[in-house]
Structure formats: C-alpha cells, structure tokens
Amino acid sequence: MTKDDVKQIVLDIIAEIAPDEDLSDVKPDVRLRDQLDLDSMDFLDIVMELRKQHGIEVPEDDYPQLASLDSCANYLQPKFEALNA
C-alpha cells in the first residue's frame, strides 16, 4: 500500500463524515482543520472509521499524528503494511 493509497482512504472517510466539504483540493502538507470544517469530534470519527472499516487502532496519544494528509500517510502506512503482512 502506497502513501497515496492511505491518503485516499483518509479522504474517503472524511467524505462520509462531512459530505458537504469540497475535497478536490486538499493540500497534503496543511493541517486538515485549517482547510476543512472539521472539529475534534470529526477527528474521533476518522479514528472510529479506521477501526471499523480497516481494523486500524489509533491510540489516543497518537491522535495528533492525524493532523494533515501527509502526517496521516506517514503514521498509518506502516500500520496498514503490518496488517497486510
């Protein structure tokens, strides 16, 4: 799984949570909160969907790792790899 695949997974989840948001031009290196209308509850939903849809556990201490698409990809890619190994 590539980092771009991981980013797409995260974007797909955001599209479910916030259907009104325009996700066509999300900058990967900018905090998601700074470019989309997402609050802390929405981030919990992202964590929840990763768990439900993909079996990925994100412990509470690691929530800050989900700040931007790039940081999501860096943090989640090894987890997806470990799962598929």
Partner: protein, 469 residues
C-alpha cells in the same frame, strides 16, 4: 442464580444508569474498544423514558410525549449527529412526522405552530409585523450550531428581550420551551433555551410510535460493541481518593474498580454516592420541577377526538411565569399520538395530559395517604383542563388510563423529589471535582431523549476519548 456481574472486578468505564444518556455514552465508549459496564437500578432501560407492560399486551411509554429534532439543520446537531456518532440508522431510531400543527396557548391567546420550522418563522413574522426584523434575527441565532460562551450563559429572557419588544410574543415563545425543559423556576440559560427551541420548532417534533424500539436498538448495539448492561444493580457508593474515583460499590457489597465513572443519575444524587449517604439524605437542592400525568390508552379515532393537536402547551395565566412548585396546576403539557404519520396503523394511541408542580411531599408517604394524594391530583388535573380548555379537549370518562406522580418519576429515575428535568444545579462541561468522574444527561444539560443522547456522546468524546484535549 449467578450472573456475569458477580465476577466483574473492573472496567475502563462504569456508567451509572441505563437511560438514554448513559446508554449513549456507553455505546460511544464501547465502539472505541473500551471495557464498558452500565449499572442500572431498575429492571428495564430508559430511565424517565422507559416503558412498562399492562394487561392486554399494552406497552406504555413512561415519560415520552413526543421526540424532537425530526428535520436536520446540520450534521453537527440533532439526529444526524446521533446517527453518525452512534453508528445507528433512521431505521433503528425512527421518527415519524406530525400530521397537524401543535398549539401554544397562554390564557386565551393561541399560537398554532406549523409542522415545518420555516412555516413558523414566516407565520410569526406575518402575525407580529412590528417584531418581524428582530424575530428573523433571533431565529437565525437559534438556528446556529455554535453559540458564544457568554451568550450561552445569559438568562434566556434577557436575550429574547434584546430581539423582541412584544411581551406576549416573548411569553408565547418561552412557554413551550419551559414546559419541555425548564429545569429551574424563573429562568434558564439561553444555551438550554436554544437547544430546546431548535429541537421542538426548527427541527420539529416527531414520534417513534413507541420508545421501546429505540431502547432495544441502543442496547443491542451496545452489546454488539462488547459493552454490558446489568439491571437490578444499584450502586450505593462511589469510592474516591485524592480527587479521583477508584471504584463503585453495589448494594450487594461487590466492588468494581473503574477507570472512569460516568453518572447519569443527577448531580445531587451523585454527590450522595460520593459521601456514601443514604437515598433519602437531604440535599441542598432547591424545589424541583415535577409533574402528575394521566395517560389514556385509546383507539386512534378516540384519541383524535380527545385532542386535535399532536402537542398542546398550555399555561392558564395571561402572563407566563415559571414556578410550578409555587403555582401547581397552572402549566400543562398535552400530547396525542393520533396525529403522526406512522407507516403502520397503530393498535392504540396514547393521549397524555400532564400538570407541572413541585415534587416535594410525594415521597415517604404510607400507601393509603399516597393513594389519596394521587387520586386527588388525578381528579384535579382532569377537572382543571375540562374547565379551562372546553371545546379543545375531550377527556374521556371511562377509558383505560394510568396516572404518574413525582413518586413514579422517582422510582424510574431516583431523581431527588421526582425531578423530571434534573436539578437546578448543572455541570454543562460534564466535569466534577473528581478528575475521572463525569456527568451526563439532565444535569449536564441534556434535556429530552435526543438531548440525553447528545449529552452522552459529547461527554464521552470530549472528556474520555480525547482526554480533555
């Protein structure tokens, strides 16, 4: 018989009470893989909004008049928020639309509130042309997701008076909100006013048919997520040290260690458990708002004849002052399930009449005295409404009916003096002086079934799942 509870030694999160707020917090926490246990004193879930059986296979709803938040305004509020956060669907938590307007009646002055929120906006703008601009601005404010903290804490009347110059209109708007959630005499915060007004009139009332499927959906989702609910499991003490709670103790003496305790039983009631004080120990709480209510079990046709509106909010005086303990039998809430668009024709419909009063003096009576007091209240409720709303209501003489009193509310909820909206003292943050003890439900500001569900989710999210960050 041994049950799984007997061998339970610890849980990540112990939830006190299986009402809507407790079940909602529990479900949210369990979905994140936490070990969650709900301890309920009663034999059924639901708290105030529970159900019970009567001969003839009738399932009575104990607290339900109507539900709210039928038409979503935003994904961050009301049912879209509840559905998404709890992973449930509109099929699991159904809401059916009314087929007729509701009625707000203050003395002889009436306001029909249309089924659709926008229609109410336009109706009041047309009926009160001099107030039209202020009313539209107020409506926009009531519709917002976020409120400035200072405005949220401002007394509701003060905010209404900034926008409206017509005392009668202000009272007509306050009346249904206070009847539906006026937790203390006098005034309530604008935050709670906004929450209730938006739920009742902007998003609109709805009916689930029966409350039981809602509770069944929550409990089965909780079990599927690995959470557990134990009934007949009254907690008698919360053990704590150095500002943190450590365990709860059951009536049986059993001790369950807890990472967090989430209490839906009320602020004053939770304090008693911290002090290991008995159930009837006095509290510093001011007079509670409670009610007597008679539920008539009727055919749909009979119910439609008894009342032409899904809801009637009635205050007998020309001016609306909210102090049911000082002025009992002055405010009334009436609901009629005949006027909802159910997908299947219901076998029976409930017509409910309720009068607000203080809850003091209803507990600790011997059975004969209680029966007399209950009968007197039931008779007065009917007599006053027959006299004050002739032509509008047709209260049946000989239909199957059940009467609920503050004592009944106390039995279902354990709230001091049968308070239906909790105490006057709230913790809107859900925090307490103990760092891992949180409040949900009425005393966190969660009013009504949907308010309780939101309360459980928000406290679970902000105080436990994100550790307050």
């Amino acid at each position: 018989m041994k049950r799984a509870l007997d061998t339970l030694e610890e849980a990540d999160d112990v939830i006190l009470g299986a009402g809507f707020s407790g079940l909602s917090a529990a479900l949210r926490l369990a979905q994140f893989g936490r070990k969650v246990v709900v301890l309920e004193k009663h034999t059924l879930p639901g708290g105030l909004n529970s159900y019970y059986y009567r001969p003839g296979k009738y399932v009575y709803d104990s607290g339900l008049h109507v539900l709210t938040n039928r038409c979503p305004v935003s994904r961050r509020w009301g049912m879209p928020f509840v559905y998404r956060q709890l992973g449930l669907s509109a099929e699991q938590l159904p809401l059916h639309a009314p087929t007729a307007p509701s009625l707000v009646r203050l003395g002889d002055c009436s306001l029909e509130t249309p089924v659709e929120g926008e229609a109410l906006l336009e109706k009041i703008a047309a009926d009160y042309p001099a107030q039209s601009d202020g009313w539209r601005a107020l409506w926009a404010l009531l519709r917002q997701d976020q409120l400035e903290p200072a405005l949220a804490a401002t007394p509701a009347r003060e905010v209404l008076e900034r926008y409206l110059g017509d005392a009668q209109l202000i009272d007509l708007l306050r009346l249904p909100v206070f009847l539906y959630g006026g937790y203390s005499a006098g005034d309530i915060s604008f935050l709670i006013f906004r929450n209730i007004f938006r739920s009742l009139f902007i998003e609109g009332v709805g009916h689930p048919g029966s409350i039981k499927p809602w509770l069944d959906s929550l409990v089965s989702a909780l079990k599927a997520a690995g959470g557990e609910v134990f009934y007949r499991a009254p907690v008698v003490a919360i053990e704590h040290q150095d500002g943190a709670v450590q365990a709860v103790r059951l009536e049986s003496g059993q001790r369950i260690r807890a990472g967090n305790v989430v209490s839906s039983i009320g602020w004053a009631e939770t304090r008693r458990l911290l002090e290991s004080a008995p159930d009837d120990a006095p509290t510093a709480q001011t007079a509670c708002i409670s009610a007597v209510e008679t539920t008539f079990c009727l055919s749909r046709e009979e119910a439609a004849q008894a009342c032409p509106h899904p809801m009637v909010f009635f205050h007998a005086d020309e001016r609306f002052d909210w102090d049911p303990a000082a002025h009992p039998f002055q405010s009334y809430s009436i609901s009629c399930a005949a006027h909802f668009d159910f997908p299947e024709e219901p076998e029976y419909c409930f017509f409910k009449i309720a009068a607000y009063l203080g809850g003091e003096g209803w507990l600790g009576l011997d059975e004969d005295t209680y029966s007399e007091k209950k009968e007197a209240a039931r008779a007065r409720l009917e007599a006053e409404l027959r006299e004050k709303l002739p032509g509008l209501l047709h209260i049946p003489d000989d239909a199957v009916n059940e009467t609920m009193t503050p004592r009944t509310v106390h039995r279902y909820t354990s709230h001091v003096d049968g308070a239906i909206y909790g105490g006057a003292d709230k913790s809107f943050s859900g925090e307490t002086r103990h760092r891992n003890l949180f409040l949900v439900g009425n005393d966190q500001g969660g009013i009504g079934v949907v308010g309780a569900l939101i309360s459980g989710i928000v406290v679970a999210n902000l105080k436990i799942l994100t550790g307050g960050r």
